[in-house]
C-alpha cells in the first residue's frame, strides 16, 4: 500500500489542433530504452537537482523499507509475542509495547521520507520540464523556415503537449515507483528466502506465470490498439474535413449522406475501441486473481509444511531442514508474497509508460537537435548621421537615417547608407538540391523603384522575395543589398530593414494596437494610428467595439479577410522599412479600397524600394518594372507599356487570353 497508491490525477489532454491522423503521432514499435536519451534527460537537471535526486533515492529507500516492515511485523507480532504470551498466559505487554513503539518510530521515519521525496520530485520534475519546454521553444525560434515547411504544425504542437506530458509522468511517477518497487522487491525477496526457500520457489513460478500471461494479453491488446488508432484517425480525419466544409454540406443539403458515412466509420471505431479496451480491462482482474490463486497455493503448501514440521517430519539439520516452517512463518510469508507480487506487477505495467516517455523524449530532443538557421553575417544595421564633412557616422539616437556598419579584415570599419537597392546576379534556387525552381534570376531594383512579379502559381514569385530576406539561401549566384552581399549581413538586421506583408495574414492574440505595434515595438499610439490611416484601416478599426483596444483572437476571426489584410499592412507600415515586400497583400481587398491603400502606400514608400506580387494586374500596372515569371525563369521584363507593346505573355494575360493558375 502507501506510496504505491500515489498517483497524480491524469491531466486533461491539453487541447491541440487535431492532426489528420487523430491520436498521438507516436510510433512505439521498435523503441528500446535508449541510455543516451536517459542521460540526456538527466543533463537537464542542475547540480542542485542531482543532489536532490540523491536525497530522493535515499528517501524512497527508507519509505519502502518501512512499507516492507509493515508486512513483516505481523510475523513478529504473532510468533514473537502473541503466541508465547498465549502459551505462558502472561499479561506482561511491555515487550510488545516497546516493539510496537519501535515500529512506530520506523513508520514515522518512512512517512517523513515519503513526504520529503514526493515534495522534492515535484521540484525536480517541474524544473526539468520547464527547462526542456523553454529550450525547445527557444531553439524552435532559431530554426530555418524550411523546418516549418516540412513538419506538420499539429505534430510540432503535440511535442509541447503530449510528449512533455509523457515525460512528466515518467519523471514524477514512473521513476519513483520503479525505485520503490525495486527496493520492495529486493527486501521482500530476501525476507522470503530467509523464511522459506521452498515457498519462495513457489512464488517465483507463480510470478513467472503471471508475467507470461500479462505479456500475452498486452500484445493482444496492442494489436487492437493499433487498429483503434487507425479507426480513430479515420474518424477524426473525416470529422475535420466535414467540419471545415460544413457550410458547403448545408448548401448542397448533403446532411443525410454525410451522416450515413460518418455512422459507418463511427461503428468501425466502436468495434475496435471495444476490443482494445476489453483486453486492458481484463488485465486488472487477471492479475488480481492470479495473485489470490498464488496465495491459496502458498497457503496450502505452507500449511502442509507446517503440519509436517509440527509433526517433526523434518530433521533439525541437513538439506531437508529448509522445509521446516512454523505456522506463524507461513502467515507472515503469505503477507510477504503479496508485497512481492504487487511491485512486480507494477513494474511490468510501468514499462509501457517508460517506453512511451522515451519515445516522447526522443521527439522533443529531435526538435532541439535540429540545426539552427545559419548566420555568419557580420554587417549590422546602425543609426547614422551625417558628419561634418558629409560622411556617415554611427550614432546612438534614432535619426531616421540608417547605415550598414561593415567591419573589414584590416580592422577598419566602413559605413554604407541604407538605400534599399537590391540586385540579383544569376541566382539559382531549389528547395532541395535535385529540384531547382529558380533559374538564372537577375534583377535590379533601384532605391525607390517598384518592382512587380507576375506569373502562375508555382512560377517562383514568392520564392524570390523569400530569398531577399534569407528565409531560404540561394544555391548559386549572388544577391547584393546596397552593394553588400546579403550573406554578410546579419539576418536579424537584414530582416529588420525589410517590411513584408504576406499572402496569408497572421495576427496574434492581443489587441489591434498590439498587433500593429508588432511591426515596431517602440511605436507610439499616434504612430500606430498614423500607420492604420495609411493602410486605410483606421475607419473600420474605430468602428470596432473597443477601437484599437479590441481584442483579436483566433487570427482575428472576428474580422473579414480584407480587414485582416489591412491590419497587416498597417503593421508593416509602422515598421517604416526602406524596402517593402507585398506578397498578394491586397488580394482580398476590393479594388476601390485597394486604390485608397495604394495611395497611402505610395506616399509611404516614396523613395523606397517595393517588391509587389499580385494576381490582379491592376495592382501592378503602375510599377517601374514588371517581371513575368514562368517556371522559375523571368521571361519578360519592362514597364506596363513596354510589355503591352511587346504583345507577349503579359499582353495575353492582360487581355485575358491567358489564365493565371
Amino acid at each position: 500500500m502507501s506510496d504505491n497508491m500515489k498517483k497524480i490525477p491524469p491531466k486533461m489532454p491539453p487541447k491541440m489542433p487535431p492532426n489528420r491522423h487523430g491520436g498521438v503521432p507516436m510510433k512505439i514499435e521498435g523503441m528500446k530504452l535508449d541510455p543516451k536519451v536517459i542521460k540526456r534527460i538527466f543533463s537537464y537537471m542542475s547540480k542542485k537537482h542531482i543532489v536532490l535526486l540523491l536525497c530522493v533515492v535515499a528517501c524512497i529507500f527508507l519509505s519502502s523499507l518501512a512499507n516492507v516492515y509493515s508486512s513483516l511485523f505481523l510475523e513478529d507480532l504473532i510468533d514473537g509475542y502473541i503466541k508465547p504470551m498465549l502459551l505462558n498466559g502472561s499479561d506482561d505487554f511491555s515487550g510488545l509495547l516497546s516493539m510496537l513503539l519501535r515500529m512506530a518510530g520506523l513508520f514515522a521515519l518512512g512517512i517523513v521520507a515519503t513526504f520529503t521525496y514526493n515534495r522534492i520530485m515535484v521540484v525536480v520534475a517541474q524544473g526539468v520540464l520547464k527547462k526542456v519546454r523553454d529550450e525547445m521553444f527557444t531553439h524552435m525560434q532559431s530554426l530555418p523556415i524550411k523546418y516549418f515547411d516540412t513538419n506538420s504544425h499539429g505534430d510540432i504542437m503535440s511535442r509541447y503537449t503530449n510528449d512533455i506530458d509523457t515525460l512528466r509522468q515518467m519523471i514524477s511517477q514512473t521513476v519513483p515507483q520503479v525505485i520503490s518497487s525495486a527496493v520492495t522487491i529486493v527486501v521482500t525477496f530476501t525476507a522470503m528466502v530467509t523464511s522459506s526457500i521452498p515457498l519462495t520457489s513457489v512464488v517465483i513460478i507463480c510470478v513467472a506465470f503471471m508475467l507470461f500471461f500479462t505479456g500475452k494479453i498486452a500484445s493482444q491488446s496492442g494489436k487492437f490498439f493499433m487498429k483503434q488508432q487507425d479507426a480513430l484517425g479515420d474518424v477524426n480525419g473525416y470529422i475535420e474535413e466535414m467540419m471545415t466544409g460544413q457550410k458547403v454540406i448545408k448548401v448542397f443539403c448533403r446532411e443525410d449522406k454525410t451522416k450515413e458515412i460518418f455512422d459507418e466509420k463511427n461503428e468501425e471505431l466502436y468495434r475496435n475501441a471495444f476490443s482494445a479496451n476489453k483486453f486492458v480491462n481484463m488485465l486488472g482482474p487477471i492479475n488480481n486473481n492470479l495473485g489470490h490463486l498464488q496465495y491459496v497455493i502458498l497457503a496450502i503448501a505452507g500449511c502442509f509444511l507446517a503440519i509436517l514440521t509440527a509433526a517433526g517430519k523434518f530433521p533439525e539439520s541437513g538439506f531437508m531442514s529448509i522445509f521446516t516452517i512454523s505456522a506463524g512463518t507461513v502467515v507472515a510469508f503469505l503477507q510477504l508474497s503479496r508485497s512481492f507480487t504487487m511491485p512486480v506487477n507494477q513494474i511490468s505495467q510501468q514499462m509501457n509508460s517508460v517506453v512511451m516517455a522515451m519515445a516522447g523524449a526522443k521527439r522533443i530532443f529531435d526538435v532541439i537537435d535540429e540545426e539552427s538557421e545559419a548566420d555568419e553575417g557580420y554587417v549590422s544595421l546602425v543609426n547614422a548621421k551625417y558628419g561634418d564633412n558629409g560622411e556617415i557616422t554611427e550614432t546612438a539616437e534614432h535619426t531616421g537615417l540608417w547605415a550598414w556598419k561593415h567591419p573589414h579584415e584590416d580592422g577598419t570599419t566602413t559605413y554604407t547608407k541604407l538605400e534599399g537597392e537590391v540586385r540579383f546576379f544569376d541566382v539559382d534556387f531549389g528547395y532541395n538540391e535535385e529540384k531547382i525552381v529558380l533559374h538564372n534570376i537577375s534583377l535590379y531594383a533601384e532605391p525607390g523603384q517598384k518592382v512587380a512579379f507576375v506569373g502562375s502559381t508555382g512560377a517562383g514569385k514568392t520564392t524570390i522575395t523569400n530569398l531577399i530576406n534569407r528565409f531560404y539561401d540561394i544555391a548559386d549566384g549572388k544577391i547584393r543589398y546596397d552593394g553588400i552581399n546579403i550573406n554578410k549581413i546579419k539576418k536579424s538586421d537584414l530582416r529588420r530593414s525589410l517590411g513584408i506583408v504576406l499572402q496569408d495574414t497572421n495576427l496574434f492574440t492581443g489587441t489591434v494596437k498590439e498587433n500593429i505595434r508588432y511591426g515596431n515595438l517602440d511605436a507610439t499610439d499616434e504612430q500606430i494610428i498614423e500607420a492604420a490611416k495609411l493602410a486605410n484601416a483606421h475607419s473600420f478599426i474605430s468602428r470596432l467595439p473597443q477601437g484599437y483596444d479590441t481584442l483579436l483572437t483566433n487570427n482575428g476571426a472576428n474580422l473579414s479577410q480584407g480587414q485582416r489584410q489591412l491590419i497587416s499592412i498597417a503593421r508593416a507600415a509602422v515598421a517604416d522599412p526602406p524596402v517593402m515586400i507585398l506578397d498578394e497583400a491586397t488580394s482580398s481587398i476590393d479594388t476601390r479600397t485597394e486604390a485608397l491603400v495604394q495611395k497611402g502606400m505610395d506616399a509611404l514608400m516614396k523613395g523606397r524600394t517595393v517588391f509587389v506580387i499580385a494576381h490582379r494586374l491592376s495592382t501592378v500596372m503602375n510599377s517601374d518594372v514588371i517581371m513575368v515569371l514562368e517556371k522559375g525563369v523571368i521571361i519578360e521584363r519592362g514597364t506596363h507599356e513596354d510589355l503591352i507593346a511587346k504583345k507577349g505573355k503579359y499582353y495575353q494575360l492582360y487581355t485575358g487570353a491567358f489564365e493565371l493558375e
Binding site: S2, D3, M5, I8, K11, M12, P13, P14, K15, P18, G22, S70, F73, L77, Y81, L86, L100, M103, F107, G110, I111, K130, R133, D134, F137, M140, Q141, I145, H153, T161, I239, M243, G245, F252, Y270, N277, V280, N281, P285, N289, Y295, A299, I300, I307, A327, V331, S492, R495, G499, I500, Y518, N555, S560, T591, T593, A595, S618, T655, G656, E659
Partner: protein, 580 residues
C-alpha cells in the same frame, strides 16, 4: 448535464448495468477471500488440520475463478458500454451539427467542433468507463469490507471506523485545495497552446519582423506560470501519500496493540490470530479504497469541462428549421427583399444590413458590388436561408422563405460560396454533390458551362482524378470552376455566385457568363464580383455601401447616378480600356 449525457447511453444500457452488477459480484468474492484466508490460518495452519486447509483452499480456488470470471465480464461490459457511449455521443453530436444553422457553425467554429467530437469525447469515454467500473467497485468494496470487519470483531473495527473519517476529510481537503489550482493550470495550458500555435502559423511574420526574442519572452512567461501552478498543485497532492501512510500505519499499530491484548486476555476466544490478520487485511483494503475514491473524484471533476462542452453542442437547437406544413415547390426564381435588416447576433441595434428593398424578376442577372465589409455576402446568404433575416421579409418565388421546406429551398437556390471547399474524392464524386443521380453527360454539360470541362479532361485521370482534401492539387481558378459546375448540377431556380470567379481570368469569366445567358436563361443569377467587367452586362446591379443599398439599376443608370459605382468603375478603367 448528466441527464443530457446519459440520454446517449441508449442501446448500451444493458452492458452499462451489467458491468456494475458484475463488479459488485467480483467485490463480494474478493471480500470473502481475506475472510476465508483468515479461517485457513486459524483452523487449518494453526491447528495443523490439513483436510481443512484443502477444503477451504478448494473453496478459495473456486471463489478466485468466479471472481476472475466476474472481473473479466465486468471489464468487457464496461468497455462495451463506454465505447458504445462514446459512439453515441459522437453520433448525436455529428447528427445535431448537421442541423446547425450557419450562425451555430460560426459560434462554435470548425476547430471547436472538431475538438468536441474528438478529444472531449475520449475524455468522457474514459470517465464513463471509470464510473461504471471503479466508481462502483470502490464504494461496494468499502461497504462489504467494513461489514466483514465489523462482523469479525466490532470492537477492533472501531479503530478504523474512527480513522476513516479523518482520512476522508484529509483527502477531501487536499482535493479541494488542489482542484482549483489544476483548473487554473489547464487554462494556462490553453494559453501555451495558443502561443505555440500562433507562433507556428505566423513564423514567417515572426522572422520577418525579427521578433524571436519577444516570442520567447511571451512563451517563457506562460511557461513560468505553468511551472508555478503545477508546482503548487502537485505540492498539495504530495500530501496524499504521507496522509495515506499515516492512516494505515496508525491503524495497523493500534489494531496490533488492541488485537494482541484481546487475544491474550481472552485466550483466543474473542479474537483469534487469523481473525486479526483478516481485520488488518480489511483495514488496508478500506483505506486504499478511500484513496481510489478521492482519485476518481479528481478525475471526474476534470472531465466535467469536457462534458459541458459536449452538452453545448448537443443542446444547440437550430432556429432555422422547416415549418410545420412547408411549401414544397418553388414557383420561380423571383426574389423580394422587403425592408430587410440583418445582424449576425440578431441584435436589432447592430444591423449590418439595413432597409433593403429590392425586387428581382425570375431569370434576371443581378450583379452586386461594394467595398470590403459592405455585407455583400450577408445579403445573398439570406436568400437560401443560411441565416434568417432579423427584420422584414424575404420572399423567393413570391413566398416567404421561412415557409419553405429547407431542403426544397436550398436545392432551388444554389449558392457558390466565397470560401468554397472541395472534398477528398474524385472530381466526379465532388460534382455529384450537386446531384447524386447526375449522368456522366450531365456532368460534362455542367462542366462545359462552367468552363471546367477542358482542364478536367487534361487532368491525369480526367473526371476520375482524385482531389486532395481541400482541393490542394488544383489551382484556385480550377477549384472555383468545379464549384460552379457542382452548383449548376443542382439545376437551381436561383444561382448565386459569391465572388466565385475571382481567380478565373477575365476571358474565361466572360465565357462562363455568356454560357449562363444562353443555356440557363430562366435561372435567376446573382453575381457578387470585385471586377466591374463581371457584372457590367447584368440586368440590374446592386451597389452596397456600409450595409445599405446605395444604388440599384443598370450599368448606365448607375454610372449616371451613383458616385460609388462611378468611382469603382473608373478605378478599374484607368489605362485599361483595352481590357476585353
Amino acid at each position: 448535464m448528466i441527464k443530457r449525457l446519459s440520454a446517449c447511453i441508449r442501446e448500451y444500457k444493458l452492458p452499462s448495468l451489467l458491468s456494475p452488477v458484475f463488479v459488485s459480484l467480483e467485490v463480494v468474492m474478493e471480500v470473502f477471500i481475506p475472510l476465508l484466508m483468515g479461517k485457513l490460518i486459524d483452523n487449518g495452519i494453526e491447528k495443523g488440520d490439513s483436510s481443512y486447509v484443502l477444503k477451504v483452499g478448494a473453496l478459495l480456488v473456486v471463489i478466485c475463478l468466479l471472481s476472475l470470471f466476474f472481473g473479466v465480464a465486468a471489464g468487457t461490459y464496461a468497455s462495451k458500454a463506454s465505447a458504445g457511449f462514446a459512439k453515441n455521443l459522437r453520433r448525436d453530436m455529428f447528427h445535431n451539427i448537421q442541423t446547425f444553422s450557419f450562425a451555430s457553425i460560426d459560434k462554435f467554429s470548425s476547430s471547436g467542433l472538431v475538438t468536441r467530437l474528438t478529444t472531449d469525447v475520449t475524455s468522457l469515454q474514459n470517465a464513463y468507463q471509470m464510473i461504471i467500473r471503479i466508481a462502483v467497485r470502490s464504494p461496494a468494496m468499502l461497504i462489504f469490507s467494513l461489514s466483514m470487519a465489523l462482523s469479525i470483531n466490532a470492537k477492533l473495527s472501531l479503530i478504523f471506523v474512527c480513522i476513516i473519517p479523518l482520512l476522508g476529510a484529509g483527502l477531501a481537503f487536499i482535493v479541494s485545495k488542489a482542484h482549483p489550482v489544476f483548473k487554473r493550470m489547464f487554462k494556462v495550458y490553453d494559453k501555451l497552446n495558443t502561443v505555440v500555435n500562433e507562433n507556428l502559423h505566423g513564423i514567417r511574420v515572426v522572422k520577418a519582423f525579427v521578433r524571436e526574442n519577444e516570442e520567447e519572452k511571451k512563451f517563457r512567461g506562460v511557461s513560468q506560470t505553468i511551472y508555478k501552478l503545477s508546482k503548487k498543485a502537485e505540492f498539495y497532492l504530495s500530501y496524499n501519500a504521507p496522509l495515506m501512510q499515516i492512516s494505515s500505519y496508525t491503524a495497523m499499530l493500534l489494531i496490533a496493540w488492541v488485537g494482541a491484548k484481546l487475544i491474550v486476555s481472552s485466550g483466543e476466544t474473542e479474537l483469534t490470530t487469523g481473525e486479526l490478520t483478516s481485520v488488518i487485511s480489511y483495514t488496508m483494503q478500506i483505506l486504499s479504497t478511500l484513496m481510489m475514491l478521492s482519485m476518481i473524484f479528481v478525475m471526474l471533476t476534470m472531465s466535467r469541462a469536457a462534458g459541458e462542452r459536449i452538452c453545448e453542442v448537443l443542446d444547440e437547437k437550430s432556429d432555422l428549421i422547416s415549418p410545420e406544413s412547408p411549401v414544397t415547390q418553388v414557383r420561380d426564381g423571383s426574389i423580394d427583399f422587403e425592408n430587410v435588416g440583418f445582424s449576425y447576433s440578431g441584435d436589432k441595434e447592430k444591423l449590418c444590413l439595413k432597409n433593403v428593398n429590392i425586387h428581382i424578376e425570375s431569370g434576371e442577372t443581378v450583379g452586386i458590388i461594394g467595398s470590403t465589409g459592405s455585407s455583400k455576402t450577408s445579403l445573398i446568404q439570406l436568400i437560401s436561408r443560411l441565416y434568417d433575416v432579423t427584420e422584414g421579409t424575404l420572399k423567393v418565388g413570391g413566398v416567404n422563405v421561412k415557409e419553405y421546406d429547407l431542403d426544397v429551398l436550398r436545392r432551388s437556390v444554389a449558392t457558390v460560396l466565397q470560401k468554397n471547399v472541395l472534398f477528398s474524392g474524385t472530381v466526379k464524386e465532388n460534382l455529384r454533390w450537386g446531384n447524386e443521380n447526375a449522368t456522366d453527360e450531365e456532368l460534362t454539360e455542367a462542366c462545359t458551362l462552367a468552363q471546367a470541362d477542358s482542364f478536367i479532361r487534361e487532368l491525369p485521370e480526367g473526371y476520375d482524378t482524385f482531389i486532395e482534401q481541400g482541393g490542394t492539387n488544383v489551382s484556385g481558378g480550377q477549384k472555383q470552376r468545379i464549384c460552379i459546375a457542382r452548383s449548376l448540377l443542382q439545376r437551381p431556380k436561383i444561382l448565386i455566385l459569391d465572388d466565385s470567379t475571382s481567380a478565373v481570368d477575365t476571358k474565361t469569366d466572360a465565357l462562363i457568363r455568356k454560357g449562363f445567358k444562353e443555356y440557363i436563361p430562366e435561372t435567376t443569377k446573382i453575381i457578387i464580383a470585385q471586377r466591374i467587367s463581371s457584372i457590367e452586362a447584368a440586368d440590374k446591379i446592386i451597389v452596397l455601401d456600409g450595409g445599405e443599398v446605395s444604388g440599384f439599376g443598370t450599368h448606365s443608370e448607375l454610372i449616371a447616378s451613383n458616385e460609388i459605382y462611378r468611382d469603382v468603375y473608373y478605378s478599374q478603367q484607368k489605362g485599361g480600356k483595352e481590357n476585353e
